[in-house]
């Protein structure tokens, strides 16, 4: 196992845009840093909840949301470092097993936001295998455009999750695209999208 065997080559913005093409009823939570920028760059949406902190919490936020709305596809877009900080959460998600939840890990093998240090994933920890071992019924490891198209159809379909999709992206500089940092506003906007109007 090692970095040489991995193909970190997909361009992150194009990969996320592909996954979000025709997103339909999808509800989205993004992990702090670049995944928030990537999802925002693909098109801001009332059904996007962007985290700017709370590292390790994205997948679990997706769990609470998926349990509340079992009829809608819920997708978490996060990075390898963010997921690693809450790795036990994969066990929690696997045990509760919401069928409509997908965790998309934008994995470049590095901590891109903090100076580009090699992440555990880059050093050989296989996140897809961890999810599989935890009991995720569906795990995908995507490093090609064809794989992205297959992943897109899976994410849009609630019913066979929870699934974890590792998307191998290139470790390269991407211009920032910054969504709102006003968490209270983003929250209220998200809830209003679901019909919960602030009182």
């Amino acid at each position: 196992m090692g970095e040489m065997m991995r193909e970190y080559r997909l361009e992150r913005r194009a990969a996320v845009a592909e996954l979000l093409k025709d997103r339909g009823e999808m509800l989205i939570v993004t992990g702090l840093g670049s995944p928030s920028y990537d999802v925002f760059a693909a098109g801001d949406h009332d059904a996007n909840f962007y985290l700017w902190g709370a590292m390790g919490g994205a997948a679990l936020t997706g769990l609470g949301l998926a349990v509340a709305h079992p009829e809608r596809p819920v997708a978490v877009f996060t990075g390898d470092g963010e997921l690693l900080m809450g790795l036990g959460g994969l066990a929690t998600i696997a045990v509760r097993a919401p069928r409509n939840l997908s965790i998309v890990v934008l994995d470049n093998g590095h901590y891109g936001e903090t100076g580009g240090q090699l992440s555990h994933s880059g050093a050989g920890v296989d996140l897809a295998a961890v999810a599989k071992a935890a009991g995720f019924p569906e795990v995908m490891d995507v490093s090609t455009h064809e794989g992205l198209i297959e992943a897109r159809s899976a994410v849009a379909t609630p019913g066979s999750g929870p699934r974890l999709i590792v998307v191998r992206i290139a470790h390269e500089h991407t211009p920032r695209a910054l969504p709102s940092r006003d968490g209270a506003w983003i929250k209220s906007r998200f809830r209003a999208h679901l019909g919960f109007v602030p009182q």
């Binding site: 509800l27 939570v29 909840f49 985290l51 700017w52 902190g53 709370a54 590292m55 390790g56 919490g57 994205a58 997948a59 679990l60 936020t61 997706g62 769990l63 609470g64 949301l65 998926a66 349990v67 509340a68 709305h69 809450g86 036990g88 959460g89 066990a91 929690t92 045990v95 509760r96 968490g183 209270a184 983003i186 929250k187 998200f190 809830r191 679901l194 019909g195 919960f196």
Partner: protein, 184 residues
């Protein structure tokens, strides 16, 4: 197994008189998602929530997960509460920033260790720092020492959390719960 969280008191806890009082308050507050890290003091309440068809009880590997789950539940229009032990409060500190940054409600029921008649010195540092750790992150803390206060204070905490958009912790004191008995 970590001794501090072992369930040596399972039989004893079947009598926990606080459990049905809290359960009814959570039910009346329309709490749908109940997260927990296994804890001897909460044994009966965890069982009641797990058996309740209107509730979704989820076991966590660590307490900070429950804060993120509560945030996700609220985004989706549901109410969530977490059951934990005082030692778990220390695991929550950074994740509590999620609630503050987004002004989201949160309710947790915390069984206290490390105080009244505590025999295990390892429980004392976090037990003694529990209230301050919560308050450091602007969580409103209600401490309950007497069973007769429980019903009104838990209902009040739920109202402040879900109607008042606040993060609220209810501490069940070790005196209320009864000091842990060390039985083989």
């Amino acid at each position: 197994m970590e001794i501090a969280r072992s369930t040596e008191a399972v039989g004893e806890d079947a009598g926990s008189p606080w459990a049905p009082i809290i359960f009814e308050a959570l039910k009346d507050a329309d709490v749908k998602q109940v997260t927990y890290v296994p804890d001897a003091g909460h044994t009966r309440l965890i069982g009641m929530c797990s058996d309740a068809p209107e509730m979704d009880a989820m076991v966590l590997t660590t307490e900070e997960e429950g804060i993120a789950v509560a945030a996700g539940a609220w985004l989706g229009g549901q109410r969530s509460a977490m059951l934990m032990q005082s030692s778990g409060v220390g695991n929550c500190v950074n994740m509590l920033s999620l609630l503050a940054s987004c002004r989201m409600p949160f309710l947790t029921i915390v069984t206290m260790r490390g105080e009244y008649q505590e025999f295990n010195p390892w429980q004392v540092p976090m037990g003694q720092a529990t209230q301050q750790a919560l308050e450091l992150m602007n969580v409103i803390v209600t401490r309950i020492d007497r069973l007769e206060d429980l019903d009104s204070l838990v209902r009040s905490a739920a109202a402040m959390a879900f109607d008042g958009d606040q993060a609220v912790a209810v501490l069940l004191s070790q005196r209320l719960l009864g000091a842990k008995k060390w039985v083989k």
